[in-house]
Symmetry: C2
């Protein structure tokens, strides 16, 4: 990490003649039938005790994407995630300690159990349901709103759902993700037709058994971002 105060509370830094640069990442996952995001609890500074998205200063020579990856890897240990630059927030007042331009990212991972490391930078780290977030530090509420909006929009014209799903899944499970994120019900039959028509799913010769008729399992033929008309 660069400097003594990298990240935590965005504390004091020797005066410079220009704003500094940080990345903040909104990591989404689906868990417990809800859309959740990863938050860290700030240890020191004006926002001590408040929750915020994980982030930190960009080091000299480091790419923005690289910095976002690094931050998330340090916290979660996850390397394989969908990561996309969201928006850059740069108002002078957003960080009381020093004018900090934050390049916000949004990221997606399939749900995983445990593995969160709070490090010594933060007091705590945990998942929170998007529709029931605590009061956030900095302007992170605005970032949260923006990230959710982007996620909802991208579900409609890309195949990024794949990054929220395990290798094998049923059609019902994809649909559940759409419904949770978009926050409204979809017609089972129309959804099925649409998603299959894209040709991105391969049926597996297996089924998932539950309380009733077993459902066919599918897998993605390609796990890379593509623009397709889903909705």
């Amino acid at each position: 990490m660069a400097g003594p105060a990298a990240g935590q509370g965005r504390a004091v830094r020797p005066p410079a003649s220009s704003p500094r640069v940080a990345v903040d990442a909104v990591l989404f996952t689906i868990s417990d039938d809800r859309l959740q995001t990863l938050l860290v609890n700030i240890k020191t500074g004006p926002f001590a005790g408040r929750w915020a998205f994980p982030g930190g200063l960009v080091e000299l020579g480091e790419s923005l994407d690289g910095a976002a990856y690094r931050e998330l890897y340090e916290k979660t240990g996850v390397r394989d995630l969908y990561l996309e630059q969201l928006f850059t927030f740069g108002d002078a007042g957003r960080d009381p300690a020093w004018h900090t331009v934050a390049v916000a990212y949004f990221a997606l991972v399939p749900h995983f159990e445990r593995g969160l490391k709070r490090g010594d930078k933060y007091a705590d780290i945990d998942w929170f349901p998007v529709h029931d977030l605590p009061q956030l530090a900095y302007d992170h509420s605005a970032i949260a709103a923006y990230a959710l909006k982007r996620l909802q929009a991208k579900l409609g014209y890309t195949n990024i759902v794949y990054s929220l799903l395990p290798d094998e899944f049923t059609l019902r499970e994809i649909q559940a993700i759409y419904e949770v994120i978009l926050n409204h019900k979809l017609d089972r039959r129309n959804f099925r037709r649409k998603i299959l028509a894209l040709g991105l799913l391969k049926p597996l010769p297996k089924t998932r058994h539950g309380a009733h008729r077993p459902a066919a399992l599918y897998t993605f033929t390609q796990r890379r971002p593509m623009n397709v008309g889903v909705l």
Copy 2:
């Protein structure tokens, strides 16, 4: 990567421990039936003589939008333009002088004659057709491509054309803008029906006279960004 190399090129700034922040603005206009962008000619440093989008470092305490406005106002004298944050480019190598994170903007103005000020920062300033740009400095070719893509997409689902048009215009003139930017012909009659169905245009009791039958003049009822299904 983090290290020396402060002195050379346009770096007029003492070594710091982190990247610096700049804004670059891609200003589009329609002129001579072509989509054009404003470029400045760089005076000194490793890219001396090359063309680039106008931009500059963000001052401490200044907002990003504010910095972009300021840059464009200094060059063009225009205050009323459509301005939107595009993407942030931050690879370490993009500026050989010092790691510089550039927040790129894209902006739209109706065509205006003259008023460009090169200031003493640049050797020259001029409009260039987007489909015939010179070799650009930094990673500005990537920025140009990204900006064009965004502009083309936004034409389809927003009303931002208004920012490229004067107060009064004919339907043919709007259509011409769409055709030039999207780079393909549209059906005159279908376009007409679609654009009128949006209810954003008000017919004026005037006509524009040319070589043939005069065309009705229209004006926008509202000149602010909105999401609407144009195409």
